[in-house]
Amino acid sequence: MASCNCGHQNDDEKQKEFGDLLAKYKGVKGALIPVLQEAQEIFGYLPAETMKQISQSQGIPFSKTFGVATFYSQFHLKPRGRNIIRMCQGTACHVRGAAKVFDAVSTNLGVAKNETTEDRRYTLETVACLGACGLAPVMMVNSDTHGRLSPDSAVKMVKNYE
């Protein structure tokens, strides 16, 4: 399954993959969330047209699909950066200075929470708890977890991601 949103895949391939996805879940009970998840993997976010097609294919009102997509924090209705930084805001991270780490990265990249840098290189997000509390403060960049961060080391780490 292709899961990249780096632009290497052309639009035709994406549309074909999306078509296969719709076919795979046609008539499957309660499949809206997995379909949205997998569609987001293909396109990197959920364009309006995509959600409309999903609604039609699943026989679900478009308003409901939109309601579901905006309920869960994992779904994104706007394009995002190539690298997703998710800073942990869990209890352990909080008491070990996560706020300062967040501020340092945010200042360095020039974006606030849930914003994407102009060059689409980074999207900065927060996450409630990554469950890696022993390593607090923690962040995830894409699927890599980085722990025992300081404001400086976090900024340096982020720069490793093109």
Binding site: M51, P61, S63, T65, F66, G67, T70
Partner: protein
């Protein structure tokens, strides 16, 4: 059928098993305030206005979703209940415009009624309020999301017709909002303006655009009429002020059928001395159309014209 006996505020009452505490109270003549409850649509239990105190039960259960059981003792106005209702009203008011003087719903608003009942003059809470633009993107319904208390009655009544379902809950938590697909104004949605949602809205979030500024609730007389444009038998109300009919609004759908715009427009033509020009959406914008087109009678009318 089996029955259960319970006491509500000391009043003994026997009701069929499966009756909710709210309905049992109604039968005992005890009033319990509600926002989200609607006997016609699926239970929801969200506004928490109807909470009551029942010894032996954890917390204060919502009476609209609690079944009456044998020997139950219900107190609908205990100090804890009153404190909870007052606080909930304050919480709603903290996030609701206080422009009752000019609100179309003034005098026909549950929030007003309950604030009066519990003596809630103002909210003690200050802080962030929602600030959404007014949606008057169509000729029929005005949506003011700032006045919405998220009881969900409009959503549930709209979703009762699967092929309509043009609105739903969107976003989450404090940002929850009733939305169309992609959160567009109603005028850009697939809405057919049957108006069921306006009829069930307990506050001023959904109002009739053709009636805006035409009169106060207490000045208006209502007459129930049954639509005869098809055989479903939906009911409407003809509103009149000082003996002049000023508007027609839907009351209840006929059995198994939705209300429709065509029926309501037809009744406007029938009952109003000066019915507003009908408008239909064409290529994404509302345009004025002839009555013949609005009511789908063009063929017949053209034949009648020929006969002349």
């Amino acid at each position: 059928m089996s029955y259960v006996s319970l006491t509500i505020n000391g009043i003994k009452i026997t009701v069929p098993k499966g009756t909710t505490v709210l309905d049992a109270a109604g039968q005992a003549g005890v009033f319990i305030p509600t926002f989200c409850h609607d006997p016609e649509i699926a239970r929801f239990g969200a506004c928490r206005m109807c909470v009551v105190e029942i010894p032996g039960m954890r917390n204060l259960p919502a009476s609209c979703v609690t079944d009456a059981t044998e020997g139950m003792e219900v107190n609908t106005e205990s100090p804890a209940v009153v404190e909870a209702r007052k606080t909930i009203l304050e919480l709603i008011l903290a996030n609701h415009p206080q422009d009752c003087l000019t609100c179309e719903k003034n005098g026909d608003c549950r929030l007003q009624d309950y604030a009066f009942r519990y003596g809630v003059k103002e909210s003690g809470f200050t802080g962030e309020r929602k600030e959404y633009p007014l949606d008057d993107s169509n000729p029929y319904i005005i949506r003011d999301a700032n006045k919405c208390i998220l009881c969900g009655r409009c959503v549930r009544t709209c979703n009762a017709i699967p092929e309509r379902s043009v609105i739903d809950f969107g976003y989450r938590g404090f940002n929850t909002k009733i939305v169309t697909a992609m959160d567009t104004p109603l005028g850009e949605s697939e809405c057919v303006y049957c108006g069921r949602c306006v009829t069930v809205c307990p506050v001023g979030a959904l109002t009739w655009k053709p009636l805006a500024g035409k009169g106060r609730v207490w000045e208006i007389d209502r007459q129930e009429v049954t639509c005869t444009f098809c055989d479903s038998g939906c009911t409407f109300e003809v509103l009149s002020k000082n003996g002049t009919n000023i508007g027609v609004i839907p009351k209840a759908p006929g059995h198994g059928r939705p209300l429709c715009l065509k029926g309501r427009l037809g009744l406007e033509l029938k009952f109003l001395d000066h019915p507003p020009d009908p408008q239909l959406k064409k290529d994404g914008a509302f345009v004025g159309v002839s009555w013949g087109e609005a009511l789908g009678l063009e063929d017949i009318l053209s034949k009648l014209d020929k006969d002349k």
